[in-house]
């Protein structure tokens, strides 16, 4: 069970994720995207979900029972090689529906002071 004290709080990653051309190319190739010049719209999940996993596990959530419920991205500009992205994760909501714990995490990715993308992941912890 998630510690209810963390709902509404924002946790900012201590280190930046350095975006390399190799990681963009690998992601593009994995999904069959022909344009390698910028990261595809869902690339940032690579960063945000890892941050959410670390945060939620620390907060007492059983990650082995987690399934992805829904996902939303707002992309202010495409992620590119050379970006140093800092992820801030906010636990926006946590509730229990029919015995399943449902947690919504907002992840903001900044390159220095510029907000590059925001995403929302709803994670369901199966009872």
């Amino acid at each position: 069970m998630l510690n209810p004290d963390i709902v509404g709080r924002t946790f900012t990653g201590a280190t930046a994720f350095a975006v390399t051309q190799e990681s963009i190319t690998e992601f593009c190739q994995a999904i069959g995207e022909p344009n390698f010049e910028i990261a595809p719209p869902t690339y940032s999940i690579k960063i945000s979900l890892a941050e959410s996993e670390a945060l939620l596990k620390e907060s007492g959530l059983d990650w082995t029972r987690v399934v992805h419920g829904d996902q939303r991205f707002e992309i202010h500009r495409p992620v590119i090689a050379g970006d140093q992205l800092i992820c801030s994760s906010t636990i926006e909501n946590a509730r229990v529906v029919a015995g399943n714990e449902i947690v919504t995490v907002r992840s903001d990715l900044h390159n220095q002071s510029e907000l590059v993308a925001s995403s929302w992941s709803t994670l369901v912890v199966r009872a």
């Binding site: 994995a30 069959g32 910028i38 719209p41 869902t42 992805h68 996902q71 939303r72 991205f73």
Partner: protein
């Protein structure tokens, strides 16, 4: 897009259908996506493990299916034009060994315009909808 005499004329109107595209999902692609995304959950690679947790078989990463919906959205005006993308993971995409599973993605314009359009995306596998409430906002060039 239709270009006439050097000026641009948007041909995206509300209600307009966007031609379907078919994407292949198989075990090899799931391994590639696991490596590229960092999501190494064994339910997406290991049949024995997937069955041990009550799944019919290995299932695709929801985010892999969404990435393919993102490719569909990117095909309209390039991947840089996708400003918003959202989806609900309503049914798993089951991926048996040695099989190519077809994901059929189609779209419809919800809000047309000359600069920004909103589309609804439908993704099905074996006639079953696997994404729900899938939408994208796309900036036109």
């Amino acid at each position: 897009m239709v270009h006439i005499g050097g000026s641009r004329m948007s041909n995206f109107e509300s209600g307009q259908e966007i031609a379907p595209q078919t994407f292949i999902i198989n075990r090899e692609l799931l391994v590639g996506y696991a490596n590229a995304s960092g999501d190494q959950n064994p339910i997406h690679q290991d049949e024995e493990f997937a069955k041990s947790v009550g799944l019919e078989n290995v299932i695709a990463h929801g985010m892999f299916t969404m990435a393919l919906a993102g490719r569909f959205a990117s095909s309209i005006a390039g991947s840089a034009a996708v400003k918003e993308l959202s989806a609900r993971f309503v049914k798993p995409v089951v991926v048996p060994a040695d099989a190519d599973v077809e994901l059929i993605v189609s779209g419809r314009v919800l809000e047309g315009g000359a600069d920004l359009i909103k589309i609804e995306i439908t993704a099905t596998c074996n006639d079953v909808k696997v994404l729900g409430m899938a939408k994208a906002v796309i900036a036109l060039p």
